[in-house]
Symmetry: D2
Subunit: 139 residues, 4 copies
């Protein structure tokens, strides 16, 4: 059973656009925040920067989201997240957003790789996902 | 032949994250900006707000993007955009990002609906895409 | 005595920049969120958009912030906010950010006006702050 | 005479809020972008990350902006920027935003320090501004 974590966000004024609804890149920011909470719930610290340098982490290779109903400023959305698939160095996190009535507002996935970087952006390369990560996230 | 438009962006400091590469929701902001340019190139003014109120426009129903190579602060990316599919009230815009060497950095699609909104977010509903929009965008 | 409200934020991955510290416009997003919480605490609903159109609210005329110490991803910051000054149509909100050790991380002010807008951005004009707003916020 | 640089931005859909005007933290993002252009114009590369690690750069100690008139989606704003003051390790950049009619839309300053960081955010400390930086920026 994969580990599930739940993250609540408030739709902030600055998350919305002149149509008065969520500006869609905001959903991806929330997905990223939800993945961070999932790692915390697993006792993992993703993308450690305490050394002052990012050397290893989980950059994206793909992301997609379907927007089922528009949300607006002041609403609260609950995001449920879990790893839906593990590969050798890539894994997919599924996120489901529900509004206060429990209706699905959006749902999407992030596909990430375990990666290290020793120099500039070109030096980024995938590495094997640590076994403990798979074990803790329920892969 | 669908109309193509090209939009260049600079990867700004604030578009990147502590890994020193583009924070992935930034790509979706750029997709949205590129769609705006595509509409301008077609002589269309999407999402008019000159009345002080948004009444009609092109909200998203889905978006996805694949990230082929990491980009970093100071790079310039060129985005080519065109409508790849028209439905009755929905349409899909395809975006391809290339770096200075012409290599694909990312590629994705936005699926939007033509919609109107008369009250709050719940009142949003799809309407038929105007014929002139299809004609000008090459549908 | 002015009403005080407290708002806690987590420094998210996407709030930081390649230096590994908070990208400074993020502090202003948090100030805006904190002002929204202050209004909620006062039983006020700022910038109502439930009609589908923003007609009255509290746009900024000035903002400033001093950054005392750098914060990084995963830190929690507590923001204390209150109205420090009321004019006829303008008012100033003071925000103090403290880190987990209680040390001031940042402090700043927003000066806002009570305003209405009937058409495009040019039609925005200040109006008198409602008496009840002053009373509830402790002006 | 300090070096001046000019940077034009388009007010994007996602830079605005449900009031249909610029969401104010966007102005600070543009100030940061304008400072980057000022450094480029001076032949300086601020905040180098080509090694994969940020070690030296120009974090903020204060920022302030006055918003003179509201701008909306699709407008173009021109930002003129120059260093208005040099200290030993701090310096102030002044930014003036003008709309298409040449009217001042906003004006503000960023106060930055020259700083290095060897470990986490707590290790950030100011150092003397290199003489060549002062010379090239016209201090």
């Amino acid at each position: 059973m994969p580990l599930n974590s739940r993250h609540e966000v408030t739709v902030e004024w600055g998350d919305c656009d002149p149509a008065g609804i969520v500006y869609y890149p905001s959903y991806f920011r929330w997905c990223d925040q939800a993945t961070y909470r999932l790692f915390l719930a697993a006792g993992l610290r993703r993308d450690d920067v305490s050394s002052g340098q990012w050397k290893e982490g989980t950059p994206l290779v793909a992301a997609e989201c379907s927007f089922r109903r528009a949300s607006q400023h002041g609403e609260k959305l609950v995001i449920d997240s879990h790893v839906s698939k593990f590969g050798g160095s890539s894994f997919t996190i599924r996120h489901v957003f529900r509004d206060a009535a429990g209706v699905i507002a959006a749902e999407g996935t992030e596909t990430r790789i375990w990666a290290e970087k020793r120099g500039d952006a070109r030096s980024l390369k995938s590495i094997a996902i640590p076994d403990e990560v798979k074990r803790r996230l329920g892969g």
